[in-house]
Every structure is written in C-alpha cells, then in structure tokens.
C-alpha cells in the first residue's frame, strides 16, 4: 500500500514540476452525428442547424441552444448538399446517386416544406453535387440552383419546375469510393452565395481543371472560367457581402476570376479545409492545409517521409491579403461548408465528426495568451559582462483572463523568469553576455510561448542578442518580420522596407528613422519598385496575380495592376520606356516569363518574346532598373543575365558566363551592373569580380558611378560594408550586425539603400535595419583620457559607486545622453572600463564622459576608453573607500553652481536668502559615499526598500556643532546619487558663512552656509 502511495506521489510531483503544458485547450464544440456530414444549413428562425448525414441518409436537426441533435429526418439515400430558401420555408436536399451499379433514379432533390413537413422529390437526371437558393424578385422563396455533374439546374420550389441553365464538362465521380475518402472526394462541386443571396459563386472540379462560375441572381447571368489552379483548391466557397469576390479553398478571386491573393504554402488538400467570409468582423475564418514542413526526404532514395500530422486549427484571416491575424487550436479538422449566424456570434462548420460550433462572438471570453511584442532586443558589448535583463509582457489579448503560460528557450545563457505563470505577466529575460562575447553580431533566439488553457496558438518571440565591438559601425533599429527588399525614396525623406511575412511595406522617415506608415500589400510581397516619375510605389507578390500600387504623395492605395492567369509578379522595374515584370508562371509557357505592364490600364500582358530571345526566364530572377531609365537588368540564379535597352525597346543582351548567381543586384546609369560578386559592363560581359573573402553577397546600391556593398559570412557575424569605386571595392568596414541574404524562393535581395540626401546609408540587417553615416569609414583619432574627478564638485578623490566625470579628447563621436536605466556601459560607441570593469555611463561627448564608478573597484586603478577610433592609453588614478563630495549643480534664480543642500521646510536650496534655521532638517545631495548595505549593482537604480545606506558612517557638523544624521546612503530610484538627511540643533552658531563639514572615514568636504536664528 505504501509503495502504491509513493508511486502516486511521484506522479503528482512529476506533474507539478513539469515545465510544459499538457494537452492544450481547443476552441469550439464538436457535435458528432454518427456518419459523414456533407453539408449544413442554418435555420436561425427555428433555432436549428440542419446537417446532411451523407452515409446515414438523414438530415440531423441540431439545436442551436444546447448543440445537441434533437431529431433527425430520414431522407432518400446520400444527401449530398442542402440549402434553405430565403424565406425559411423550404429545405432542399440534393441526393447523390452516382453509385455502382448506376441508377439515375437516385439522382434527385427533395424539397421539404418546413412549415408542414411535407416532402416532394424531383429527379435531376445527372447526379446533383451542390445546391443553393438564390433571391428572386418574383417570389420570397427564391429559386434553387442545382449543380449537377453536367449542368446548372434552376428549380422553382413553388411550381416544382426544373430547367437546365448551362451545361459544362462532366465531373465524373462514382461511388463506391476508396476507404476514408468520403464525402469530400465525391462532392467535387460547391456553390455558395453572399448573405443576401444575390450573387452565387460555384466551383466544379473535373479532375484536370476547375471551373469557376459567378451567378448574378438579379440578372440571371452566369459567367465562368476554366482554370488549372495549382495548388488545386478544395471546393469550399464563401462569398464577400457585395459579391465582388469569393474565397475558393486557398484562393481569393475576383468577379472576373483574377487571383487577388492566395494562402502561402498551401497544398492541394483532399479533404481538410473550409472558409467563411465574416462581414460583421471583416475577417475570413478558415482552415487551409499547408505544406508539411516536417517532412523528411531520404537523400539516397528520395523517399519523402511525412512529418507528424499538423494539429487542426482555425485561422482568422485579413480579407485583403489572407494575412493570419490569429490561429486557434481546434478539436478536429474542418471538412466542409462553414456558415455564420447573422450576427456573427457563432460559426458552424462541417468537421470530421459532424459539426463543430465556434462561439466566435465570445472570443474575448476564451482564454488566450500572447506576447505584446514580436521581438526582444538585448544590446551587449564586449564591455558589458553583466547580465542584461529585458522585460516582456504576456497578456490575454481579449482582456481579463488569467490563462497559464509557458515561455521557454533552448538558447544557452538565456534564462526566463518566471518561465510559467498566469497572464497578465511581466517576464524578465536575462541574457548572460559571456555566452555571446565571441559573437560580434546578432544572434536570433526563439522564445516559444504556449499555454495549456489558451485556445490560440501564440506566435513565438524572437530574442535578438547583439554583441559588438567599438569598431563595428552603425546603429541598428529593430523591425520585426521577414524583410525582403529596401528602397530609398529618391525625392522624399523616406525609405521603404518590405516585411514579407506581415504583408506590409513599412515606410520610415529617413531623418528620424521612425516608422511613419505601414502599407498593406496582398499576399507575400516580394519586391517594390518606383514608377519612373517617382510618383507611385508598385509592390510585387508571390501569392497574388496582382501588383499593388500606392500614391507616394498621399500613401493611399490605387487600383492594382492585374496580371494574366497564372502570373505572379515577383519583380517589377520601369525604364524610361516601359514597365516590366518578371513573373512566376504556373500556367503555360514556362515557370517564369516577363510581362509588359500598361500602367494606365493597370493590366499586364506577356511579351511574345524578349527580342530575339525566348520569353522564358527563371522565376527566381529579378529586375533592376537603371536610375536614368536607359536599361533594365535581368538577373537569374542559374547564371543568366539579360538587358532590356529602353532606346531599342527590346532585350539586347542575354548571357550566361557563370552557372549560378545570387545576392546583390543593381544597375547604374553609367552602363555598369552588379550581380552577386560580378561587375558587368554595358554588354553584361564580366569585367571584374568583387572580393569574396568577407562572405556572401548581400546588397549593392549605386550612387553615381560609385556605391556601397554589404556582405555577411554568417547570420551571427558582424557583416561588412564596402565602398565601391572604379569597379572595385575598398576596405571592408565591420558593421553592428550582419546584413540579410536571400532566403526561401528569393535568390536575390536588395539590402543597401543610400539616402538620397547623402546623410546616411541604410542596410537591412538581422534585427531590422542599420543606419550608417555617409562617412562611416572616415578615420577617427584614438581617444585620450586627461583627468578623472568626481562629478559633484569636480575634484579628487573619487570613491566606488560615485558619479565621476572623465575629461579628455576624442572620447565620443557625438554628444549623447541616456535616460536608459540601468545605465548602459556603451553609449555612442564609447566604452569606458576601470581595471577591466565596465563603467555605466550617463553622457558622452568628445571632451567629457560622465558615469558611475563601479562598486567593485578600489585602490590604485587604471582606466581605459574604447571608441571607434581605438583604445586610449591607460589612465592611472586612486579610488578611496569614501570620498564625499557635494554637488555644485544647484541653481536659484540667476545664481548657479550652488551647493545642492536643501531645507526640508520648503524643499529649496539653502542660500543666503533661504538660510538654515535651528531645528531645520536639511538634505545634502552628494556622491562618493562609497559602498552600501545592502550592496547595489553598478548602474542600477537604488531601491527604496531596503534603503541602501553607506557602509562608512557620515558625520556632519555645522559651525563645529554636530548634526544628527538621520540617513546617509543612495537616493532611491537614482544611480550613484547619495543623500544625507540631518537635523540642525538649536545650539548651532549663526552667521553668514558657517562651515558645514561632511566627514566620512578619513575624508571630508567643507562648504559654508548662512545660519540665522
């Protein structure tokens, strides 16, 4: 018995000590129906949901109130699709009879009058696949549109008449199907309407192609398009409120069948998926199957082993670009139609077991967890050997819930406290820089966030740990996201960065480097381009057959450029003559082609040929326009390069001198081109190779006949920037972190943008972008230290923990003060150490640095300063255990340089007009009182509880009369600032200049105060 109890205890302890959540919570309630659900119809008036049970030959009636199957209606075999009439009177059921042996009599529709429960059955001849009711101008019940394997049938529920509308290619699907495939592989057609049933969209899959249809109920017009879509969409449709677009599986397409956006990395699913447009919340709810990122391919046999099945999820998508706003864990996969309640409070979806009900109107009452930021940045230097602490807030985005959370990482030297708890929570992420001291760049670490109670799938947090040396130039700014392109505005003080995973182009002010706007894009923006008149910004996409356009003066979106079916415009460039696009082509004609864009018409069309060359290019190629509009360079990863000549209005050069190209690409106005490390002449003949010892090609930008080039050896390296002139590059200068290199399908990237006012150079780097001064490589003289004094009265000696002023020359490139607490140990690239211990600094300038002497240095000390100009000579000085000194920084009226001693009575400085009176309590503001108890970290603010009192007692006399010292120690909330609170006795002598002496250990400081009775 005892043994059993011990076993139970072990289990309990193991559960308590477990740092990771168990089975996560899920969103939604599953209602099993005991068969395969093939379609659903919502009857809000009666408070029920009708569920077509395809295999049990029933219509299940589910109560919306308690989500139970209250009753079932037995119907003819294989109810494949159902729909409610607009007036709620009729339910129509399509029966799929395409089973072996063939029996056309099974192909029928059943019309149920829901008011009196009478039923009528009507033969459809061909197997019906989908059905929907449309609004009618003549009758409230509307007309039913039935999609059969060969045609549309219009069915009048009043008269029972059925007429054929349009014939289309046969959709051959025959039962029985193989195991585990029903019903989705059978029902290869679908039809859905907008909420007012005026517009319907239908999709029918013939196996080799998909037919898309749009039905206008008011005019009766049916238009259609035959599309070979890849990946092939599941026949799951939902329609926008105005009928101007619809979602079909992974695609958002327009009324003219233009691919407006498609979900990235989606696959041709056979069963899993569904979507619904939510007009009230202006979102799309969907599940879309994506590529198995965990699949492994045997390098020898080529056999692909699938990864673990992806857990079922529901996504909330931005209807403009299908951007995933939030993902929720669900119990099971969606496998059919999704319908919304009229107020969007509840979402019903056909799912594995039958129906899943999602209470989306009560989303904020669900447990969710999310970090408030995407990135956490830790800036370290070789100077900083102390632990860096950054805070991260984890909250419930819906409000006041207290779900559990778990935040973890495998990165060395990173600790999280607390690593679990309940939201809202402020988490401290501590980074031990000693783990990264040999890493002179930025390391990206993933912090995984999870929750057992939360229903959402929280995105991870990126921890960026930067460690730099003083010779690494530039200041980096954090920009979350996958950044894929950069352009500086040639006439405005802005630059533009493509954040591909956010579906945005970020606009930054090139004076303040602050983001001023975020331009929404369609799915997966790749590259941006200016029109030749610099008035418009054009955005290419890898998951939309459109290029979006923004007016750069107003930053307002304009009509997009539409591309031919199958053409995804990845790269765009305009010469003085024409605008071209290099497109990924999934249609006929090759994987990549070049289109010409008619900007005024906002239409693109494929060029029949590229001059004398075939219009077939590598889809991972890019276009680069010469600034003067004379040419457009085409660079391809297979080594091919081409040149479009604007004067000839055709492609005049095509060469392949190497087998592979990648990285940087640029075209100058002087017939010089850069692709990777190659310098090409006007005929694209290589005329030089740039050095490769600094790493991989990252970015290149021309300025006149010169330019800038960036390179990286690895993501965590410093990376370098080089100045380009005379077809070669100069010395490499290390920058603060590595520039980006192309990833994924992109083989070329632009990561350098010289600002057109020549105030600086922007480089896309690991954390976001780095700003370098134009003369970043100018020679800088080494620093010199001339003197060290306390910062209070500008004299010696100094004591541990005291504020000091260091005077010298070439001490910092700029004047810069910090408000950062704890104090940084590097400011404006200046790093001061005493006996090798970093000195936290408050202010740096060329001639002076103010900082706090570390608590852990004493006696004879040696100070060293490191700047971009080099390392100073050692400056030797003495540090005493205590060296009290009173600040002379007080001001009163026009008087300055006053001693900072205040009267408690009025809080004002003691001056001859605000003299000391017997019985007064005075506060002496000082520094240099030395170590404290409890000890405080150097650079950190003093706490208020417990108060850190000076270890060496301070004595204060006024006119030889001892004052009662109530407290002598650090000022709470401040760094290196001490205060002495003392009470003046009644017996104090009066006079105009009574000496006040502060004595600590063997050191004292004296000044005069006026004392009156």
């Amino acid at each position: 018995m005892m043994r059993w109890n011990g076993y139970l205890l072990s289990i309990a302890l193991a559960a308590m000590l477990s740092a990771s959540p168990g089975i996560a919570a899920t969103f939604g309630t599953v209602v099993p129906i005991g068969g395969h659900a093939s379609d659903i119809a919502l009857d809000e008036a009666r408070g029920v949901l009708y569920v077509a049970n395809f295999t049990a030959n029933r219509i299940e009636v589910m109560s919306l109130a308690d989500r139970t199957i209250r009753s079932s209606m037995n119907v003819a075999p294989q109810p494949a699709a159902i729909s409610m009439s607009p007036d709620g009177k009729y339910l129509i059921i399509a029966h799929y009879g395409n089973i072996t042996p063939a029996d056309p009599s099974r192909n029928a529709v059943t019309l149920i009058n829901l008011d009196d429960n009478t039923r009528q059955t009507f033969s459809t001849g061909d197997p019906p696949l989908a059905v929907t009711f449309l609004a009618s101008k003549t009758q409230a019940a509307g007309l039913a549109l039935v999609v059969t394997t060969t045609s549309f049938l219009v069915f009048d529920p009043i008269t029972g008449s059925m007429t054929s509308s349009t014939n289309f290619g046969n959709v051959p699907k025959v039962l029985p199907a193989s195991l585990d495939t029903l019903p989705s592989q059978v029902l290869t057609a679908a039809i859905s309407t907008n909420p007012d049933r005026t517009i319907a969209y239908a999709i029918a899959d013939s196996g080799s192609a998909q037919a898309f249809y749009r039905i206008d109920a008011s005019s009766g017009d049916i238009t259609g398009a035959l599309i070979v879509a890849s990946p092939k969409p599941l026949p799951r449709l939902s329609v926008s409120p105005d009928g101007s677009w619809a979602m079909a599986g992974l695609y958002k397409f327009s009324a003219t069948y233009d691919n407006m956006a498609q979900f990235p990395n989606a696959i041709s699913a056979t069963q899993i998926g569904g979507n619904i447009v939510d007009p009230n919340n202006n979102v799309i709810w969907a599940q879309i199957a994506v590529q198995d990122t965990n699949a492994k391919t045997d390098p020898i046999t080529g056999v692909v082993t699938p990864g673990p099945a992806a857990p079922p999820t529901l996504m909330r998508l931005d209807p403009d670009n299908l951007y995933v706003q939030e993902t929720y864990s669900t119990q099971e996969n969606i496998t059919g139609r999704m319908v919304l309640s009229s107020d969007s409070s509840a979402l019903y979806a056909v799912s594995d077991s039958g129906v899943t009900v999602f209470p989306i109107g009560r989303m904020n009452q669900q447990n969710r967890v999310k970090a408030t930021v995407s990135d956490v940045v830790a800036r370290s230097t070789f100077c900083n050997r102390t632990v860096i602490t950054q805070t991260l807030n984890i909250t419930d985005p819906g409000g006041g819930h207290t779900a559990d959370f778990y935040l973890s990482t495998n990165a060395p030297g990173v600790t999280i406290s607390p690593s679990s708890g309940r939201v809202p929570a402020t988490v401290q992420v501590r980074i031990d820089p000693t783990y990264y001291q040999n890493q002179n760049g930025t390391v990206s670490v993933t912090l995984s966030l999870s929750s057992a109670a939360g229903i959402n799938v929280p995105p991870p947090v990126r921890l960026l740990i930067n460690n730099r040396n003083p010779d690494q130039r530039g200041t980096f700014f954090n920009v979350p996201g996958t950044l894929t392109d950069l352009l500086a505005d040639p006439i405005r003080n802005r630059f533009y960065v493509v954040a591909q995973d956010l579906d945005q182009v970020l606009v930054f002010d090139s004076t303040t480097y602050q983001q001023v706007a975020a331009l929404k894009t369609s799915a997966t923006p790749t590259q941006i381009a200016f029109t030749f008149d610099r008035k418009y910004l054009i955005i290419g996409h890898d998951n939309a057959q459109q290029a979006w356009v923004y007016d750069l003066d107003t930053l307002q979106q304009q009509a997009p450029i539409l591309f031919p079916p199958g053409h995804y415009p990845r790269s765009i460039a305009e010469s003085g003559k024409t605008m071209l696009a290099l497109v990924r082509n999934v249609g006929a004609g090759g994987p990549g082609v070049i289109d010409r864009i008619d900007f005024n018409a906002r239409r693109a069309s494929q060029l029949p040929s590229l001059g004398v060359f075939t219009n077939s290019v590598n889809p991972a190629g890019v276009l680069a326009p010469a600034p003067n509009g004379a040419s457009v360079l085409v660079a391809m990863p297979d080594g091919n390069v081409m040149l479009y000549d604007a004067n000839a209005d055709t492609f005049t050069v095509s060469r392949q001198d190497v087998k592979a190209l990648g990285g940087a690409y640029a075209a100058s106005s002087y017939n010089t081109y850069i692709v990777g490390n190659s310098v090409l002449n006007a005929s694209l003949v290589p005329m030089g190779t740039l050095e490769t010892s600094s790493g991989s090609s990252s970015g290149f930008a021309f300025i006149d006949q010169g330019g800038f080039r960036t390179m990286q050896s690895s993501a965590g390296s410093p990376g370098v920037i080089e100045r380009f002139a005379s077809n070669t590059t100069g010395a490499a200068t290390r920058i603060v972190e590595a520039p980006l290199v192309p990833t994924g399908f992109q083989k070329f990237i632009r990561t350098v943008a010289p600002l057109y006012d020549r105030s600086g150079v922007i480089a896309l780097t690991v954390s976001g972008f780095t700003v370098l001064p134009w003369n970043y490589d100018a020679a800088v003289a080494p620093p010199k230290i001339a003197s060290v004094v306390n910062a209070a009265d500008g004299k010696l000696p100094v004591a541990p923990g005291g504020l000091i002023s260091v005077y010298g020359s070439q001490m910092a490139p700029v004047n810069l003060a910090t408000k950062e607490i704890p104090l940084p140990t590097v400011l404006a690239d200046s790093c001061l150490t005493v006996n090798g211990v970093p000195v936290p600094v408050l202010f740096v300038s060329s001639g002076q640095i103010n900082g706090q002497l570390p608590f852990n240095v004493d006696g004879n000390a040696s100070m060293t300063l490191r700047t971009p100009g080099g390392i100073s000579d050692n400056f030797n000085f003495s540090i005493l255990p205590a060296a009290p000194s009173i600040f002379r920084s007080g001001t009163a009226g026009s008087d300055s340089g006053l001693a900072t001693i205040t009267r408690a009575d009025n809080g004002e400085l003691i001056t001859p007009t605000n003299p000391v009176h017997p019985g007064d309590t005075i506060t002496i503001w000082a520094t240099g009182l030395g170590r404290t108890s409890p000890p405080i970290d150097t650079g950190a603010p003093a706490p208020s509880d417990p108060l850190p009192a000076a270890v060496i007692p301070a004595d204060v006399t006024l006119g030889g009369t001892a004052l009662q010292v109530d407290y002598a120690g650090l000022v709470p909330g401040s760094v290196g600032l001490y205060q002495i609170n003392a009470t003046v006795p009644r017996t104090v002598p009066q006079g105009l200049e009574i000496p006040l002496v502060v004595k600590q250990g063997g050191m004292s400081t004296t000044l005069s105060l006026r004392v009156v009775k």
Partner: protein, 210 residues
C-alpha cells in the same frame, strides 16, 4: 538691554502709589529713511517701507514740568531693497519699547501744554516673509526671516489739549534712531550699508490722567 528695560519698568511701578498717572493710545504713520548700499555690483538702498504705527504709553507726572513715560509702538513695515529701478521686498514688522523723560511747557493740569520727550529703549526688527532660495537684488542684501534687537534712542515733540477734566488729545512727532539691522537685511560679503536708521513717526491719540 532687556535687563535694563525691566529695571526701569519696575522703578516706575514702585513709584506710582502717591503720584498722578497718565495712560493713552496713539496711532499714525511710520516713515523711514533708507541707508546707502555700496556693493561691487553698484549702489542701492536698503531699508523699510513706510507704513502705519500703533502704540500706547503709561506716564507718571511727578513734577510740575517733568514726567516720565513708558511707550510701546508696533510698526508693521516690509523690508526693502531698491536698485536700478528694481525692488525686492519681504514682509516684516518692528516693535519699539522705550522710556521717555517728558518736559512740559505748562503745569500738568493746564488746558493745553506742549512737551518734549527724550528717551531710550530697544527696537526689535523682524522679517516675517516666506524664504526662497532666489531673491531679487540678493547681490545687495539678503532679506531674512529672523529677528534682531537694536538699542534705540528717541526724541519727540508734541502737544496735549485737554478735552474733558481727565481726557486730552495728544499729538506728537517722534524719531526712533537705531543702528541699521544688518541681520534682518544682511549685506552680502563685500557689501557695505549705512549705519543709522531714522524712523519718523507722527501720531495722534487720546490720553487719560488719573
């Protein structure tokens, strides 16, 4: 100084049993000179603003033309510095306590009598304003919240006119002469002040003799 005042009061009180006493109250104005200020920053004046004066006295007429009186006068007046058209002030007041020997022109029960008083005592100067670290014209002086005792001489001339058998109208002009109070208005180092403060106080009052 306080010891001497107490002695005089005690002497007067002890002598009062068989003598004729006189009591009264006076009110009027207070007009003060300013002293010159010599400072590195230039010249200025320091002193007190003109104001009101209120007081009372008790006298003893021991002889036909000679008597003695003890006086108290309250002088609410602000401390003041002036230089270059700028002025700094600070609330304050003064208290004057003194003993006078009075010489009358006629005998003590005459209808009207002129008199001259000569006396000595103490004047208490007090600064009562709110102190601030910064004060205007502080390079010429510090207007201070403190009090200072100064010896004082006084001379007065006046007339008494009998209104009723025991009531008379009394009017006089008095000058309080004292050292300048350099703790209440303190000269900064290197600054020199004039040394004598004259406080002219004309007053009118009612007296009763018993």
């Amino acid at each position: 100084m306080m010891t001497r005042i107490v002695f005089l009061l005690t002497a007067a009180s002890a002598a009062s049993f068989a003598q004729q006493w006189e009591f009264g109250g006076l009110g009027g104005g207070s007009f003060l000179n300013t002293v010159g200020v010599t400072a590195p920053a230039g010249s200025a004046t320091a002193g007190f603003a003109n104001g009101a004066a209120f007081g009372g006295y008790a006298g003893y007429n021991s002889y036909k033309h000679l008597g003695g009186e003890i006086h108290y006068t309250y002088l609410p007046t602000s401390l003041k510095l002036s230089a270059n058209g700028s002025e700094a002030t600070f609330s304050g007041n003064s208290h004057a306590i003194h003993y006078d020997v009075v010489f009358r022109t006629t005998k003590k029960d005459s209808k009207a009598q002129a008199y001259v008083g000569l006396g000595a005592g103490v004047k208490i100067f007090r600064g009562t304003g709110t102190e601030h670290a910064a004060q205007n014209l502080s390079n010429y002086g510090y207007l201070t919240k403190t009090q200072q005792f100064e010896p004082m001489g006084t001379v007065a001339v006046g007339v008494k006119v009998r209104l009723a058998p025991r009531v008379f109208l009394r009017t006089e002009v008095r000058d309080y002469i004292s050292p300048f109070p350099t703790q209440v208005i303190a000269p900064p180092p290197g600054v020199k002040y004039g040394s004598i403060l004259n406080n002219i106080v004309p007053m009118v009052g009612i007296g009763i003799d018993m």
